[in-house]
Amino acid sequence: MLPVAVDAMGGDRAPGDILAGAHAAAALGIPVVLVGPEGLADCRDLPLIHASEVIEMHDDAAQGVRRKKDSTLVRAAEAVRDGKASAMVSAGNTGATMASALFRMGRISGVTRPAIATPIPVPGDRPNIMLDAGANAEVQPDWLVQFAQMGAIYARHRFGIAAPTVGLLSIGEEPGKGDTLRKEAFELLSTASGIDFVGNVEGRDLMRKTADVIVTDGFTGNVALKTLEGGLKTLFHALFTAFGSSPEYKAAADALLPAMLPLLAEVSPDTYGGAVLLGVDGVCIISHGSSGETAMLNAIKLAEEMVQGGLVAEITAAFAG
């Protein structure tokens, strides 16, 4: 397998934690190539593709890609395009990661727009897939049908769900609920072939097994994702604060800890490594900006899994003709 190209400078904890994750992946036998500036410290024995620029978190996505042609993101995407890497992974600027992949790898023929597919944890069950989580702030109804098709393929690859069900995120279960986009998308999804559409789902269903794949526009999806992440973080912080507020509670909490820790891991974004940009002609993993070593390791493992499983080839075949 060709190496996974890792953007060494992407993310709040780059390069230290990114390199640590890359080394951990390499130690597991996953081939990795770093993309970063010449002289990058602590590369050790990992190969390095030189890139002198970094697209910062605050840079405009498209302009960043156009103006910083020697950036780590652009070079990583080019490595995939040019057959020097099998996949790219970055915890950097999400929009710029998408733009780099789109402009350099290109779209899969038949796909109108790529979408970011992110796992949503479902305690005690396999995660759901939500897309789009932020690639397209505005979408057309027929794009949501394509998101559903790609999301179903990804759900099979990622979580082994043989026949994924698809839901449309809206403000009510009934078909007539939602704005014009949702109503038109509902009609299209209802008649689309090859999609097991179960109707509208609501925000409360994101972490429940109402549908395996949940489609929405990128603006709504990003708000929903950040709301979930922020809500869970706040809730767990409040819980642990309450547990520590008296010696009696603390003793009881210590006894509960073995049950709590797996739950914490199950809902942590680090566990899943990142989201996948579906619809581009290559594997592109978009990790959380705050990714640490574990998240980066899991992102690289995810990249390897999607390459080995032939995710892109299956989407390409599904959209051919």
Binding site: R66, R67, F103, S109, T112, R113
Partner: protein
């Protein structure tokens, strides 16, 4: 393509623009004409236009060394004709 190729005439530039645009929008090239508006007639949004610009720069950079479409000029490219005129002006002058 190499820098020693014969200069492109305007109709060749139109064909290059049309082929790339058709590829990006996944439509039949024959349906694209010079008078069409990117947004109103071809339903091309800003990301599609940047895809077009990137594709044109890649296609033409070898023939016209360092060929580049300036970001500040993008706002003036509203129709296929605008794009063809702009690109032709650039490659002709190189």
């Amino acid at each position: 393509m190499s820098s020693t190729d014969a200069p492109l005439d305007r109709s060749a530039v139109f064909e290059i623009v049309r082929a790339n645009l058709a590829d990006i929008l996944e439509i039949d090239p024959a349906t694209i004409s010079e008078g069409q508006s990117f947004v109103d007639d071809l339903d091309a949004d800003s990301l599609a236009l940047i895809e077009l610009v990137e594709a044109l720069e890649e296609d033409l950079s070898e023939r016209s060394v360092g060929f580049r479409i300036e970001d500040e000029d993008l706002v003036d490219l509203k129709t296929v004709r605008d794009a063809v005129d702009y690109v032709y002006g650039r490659v002709k002058g190189s």
